[in-house]
């Protein structure tokens, strides 16, 4: 097992790499760790095919997911490994520019990356520039990063054109999460990248980042964080764009079989109300809509309203019917994927917490707000 965390961030000579690395990445089965879980090799191939020595690599350390910590921790502790991944990407994809897109609130992460870059040699150092990602949920989305670097506004735009077709400055662009790039650097060194970084959140004794092999079960991973503080009612796998799972189903599942998304594992204790928790997160996701299209702005607001109605006034057949119907109506109709992520989250809540949603009694409105 090759660990990302707890290992010295030594600066090793860059592995000699060429286009064949993409095949190695493919065989390693590496997928993006920013949330979407898309195949890294496919993404690289698309950029490689179009790059005329003009590609741009965007190192995505925006980490706007509220409970996630792993990207800023990795940037703070393994900046050289991330830079290695970025320089390798630049060589393989024949890039002329690398942008470190780091969340504006992640100060120590940015400092560490700056320091590591200062220890690098020309000409590689000259490829790199910094950009501070606005601290909003959508700012970490691939298209938002490109829009920001082109025009200074971090709202997602519609695809197409895709980043590999026309990204930063109109050039073929790779936007890749920092953890994914660190994995690439390990793969290029010939070491397997068989662990995942998770952020444990909620009712866990020691919330925070853990690193675990893919063969580990979710239950074992949570035990690394001291275990749950009390009997859990649900486990949110993959952050706010992830899915709720029954604890009994989640604990024995191996990480490799789950859609880990951005790696946030949220443990909801039995003492907290799942309906109020879901309503709070839906309100948050609705408030993070960039108001570019109706399905997102009005759709998510309507879904947040209907879930808060159930949370505050108690369950009603009408609200439940609306939730079910609108959740299906909104899907696939947004200008970007923000509404899709939100309704997938909601759909899992309506399944896992079906009983609670059907039998919910009126709660104090304060609790709904507090859980958000």
């Amino acid at each position: 097992m090759t660990r990302l965390l707890g290992t010295a961030d030594d600066r090793l000579p860059l592995a000699r790499v060429d286009g064949r690395l993409i095949e190695t990445i493919h065989q390693a089965g590496l997928v993006g760790r920013g949330g979407a879980g898309f195949s890294t090799a496919i993404k690289w191939r698309a950029v490689a095919e179009r790059s005329r020595r003009n590609a741009v690599i965007v190192v995505n350390g925006a980490e706007g997911e509220p409970r996630s910590q792993k990207d800023r921790l990795l940037m703070a502790t393994r900046p050289h490994l991330i830079l290695d991944g970025a320089f390798i990407a630049a060589r393989v994809l024949k890039a002329r520019r690398i942008v470190l897109y780091i969340g504006e609130a992640h100060e120590s992460a940015r400092q560490a990356m700056l320091r590591a870059l200062g220890q690098r040699d020309e000409p590689e150092r000259g490829l790199v520039s910094f950009a501070a990602a606005p601290a909003r949920y959508v700012a970490g989305a691939e298209m938002a990063a490109i829009h920001f670097l082109n025009e200074g506004i971090a709202t997602p735009t519609t695809t197409a054109p895709y980043p590999f077709e026309r990204g930063v400055d109109g050039a073929p662009t790779l936007v890749q999460n920092v953890e994914t790039l660190a994995r690439v650097a390990l793969i290029a060194r010939g070491t397997p990248a068989d662990t995942a970084l998770l952020t444990l959140a909620g009712a866990v004794r020691q919330p925070g980042v853990v690193e675990v092999p893919f063969g580990t079960t979710l239950g074992e991973a949570v035990r690394l964080g001291g275990g749950a503080t009390e009997a859990p009612r649900g486990v949110l796998v993959g952050g706010y764009f992830g899915s709720w799972m029954e604890p009994g189903e989640a604990w024995p599942a191996a990480l490799g079989q789950l859609r880990l998304g951005c790696g946030v594992i949220g443990v909801l204790p039995a003492s907290r109300c799942p309906v109020c928790e879901t309503a709070g997160i839906m309100r948050y996701l609705a408030s993070e809509s960039s108001a570019q299209c109706g399905p997102c702005f009005f759709g998510l607001r309507a879904l947040a309203d209907a879930s808060s109605h159930i949370a505050e006034r108690g369950s009603s057949a009408d609200d439940l019917r609306r939730l079910q119907r609108w959740a299906t109506d909104v899907r696939g109709r947004g200008a970007c994927k923000h509404p899709d992520g939100a309704v997938m989250f909601l759909a899992s809540a309506l399944t896992v917490f079906a009983n609670e949603f059907a039998q919910h009694e009126a709660h104090d409105a304060r609790e709904v707000r507090r859980s958000a």
Binding site: P134, R136, E151, G152, I153, A160, S289, S290, A291
Partner: protein, 195 residues
């Protein structure tokens, strides 16, 4: 008998195409104006717009097919597909071909909008404002029934409906209900240097 059947079909399908296309244009404009009421939700406007547009193509195909295979016209497929190559009413028929091909491009790009991107799709969709008048001119110029009272009424009705819709569109201003929240959100994630 079958020859005159083809000829009547050509003329009938042409008239139906004009009515349908005008309805599609009006519905398209109404959807940008976000027209709605209790009994007419907005998805009805866009749904009708799309379905009638597809139906328009069906009647247009019928119009062209029957005109070409009619042994009396002897047009040939070339004249139906390449503008201004028809020996028969070269100019007026050419307008019809242009209008048809523009509509084909508009429908085809709408069907693959997801691959094309919004901006390119919209740019091509604007060609409707060329396709529709060119089609109307084609009908008025070469239509066998142009000066019969019923066809005059249809043409006048279509022109009036689209005309009114365009005037509403030009004078309506922005009714975008997202304008304010969008500006607010963009301001929050805008890091451009102040000019």
């Amino acid at each position: 008998m079958s020859d005159s059947l083809l000829w009547y079909t050509t003329r009938g399908a042409g008239a139906v195409t004009l009515i349908l296309l005008s309805a599609v244009v009006v519905l398209g404009i109404l959807s940008t104006l976000r027209v709605q009421s209790q009994s007419w939700p907005r998805f009805l406007t866009t749904g009708l717009h799309r379905n009638l547009a597809l139906m328009t193509l069906v009647f247009l195909a019928l119009h062209i097919f029957t005109a070409v295979v009619d042994p009396f016209t002897n047009l040939g497929w070339g004249a139906a597909l390449i503008p201004f190559t028809s020996y028969y009413r070269t100019f007026w028929l050419g307008l019809g071909v242009i209008s048809f091909e523009l509509l084909l491009a508009i429908v085809a790009t709408s069907l693959i909008r997801g691959f094309l991107g919004h901006r390119a799709w919209r740019a091509i969709h604007w060609l409707t404002y060329a396709a529709w008048p060119v089609g109307v001119l084609h009908g008025a110029g070469t239509g066998t029934d142009t000066w019969s009272a019923w066809m005059l009424a249809i043409t006048a009705g279509c022109v009036a409906a689209v005309g009114v819709a365009i005037v509403l569109r030009l004078t309506g201003g922005s009714t975008d209900p997202l304008a304010t929240p969008r500006t607010t959100f963009r301001a929050a994630v805008d890091r451009r240097e102040p000019q």
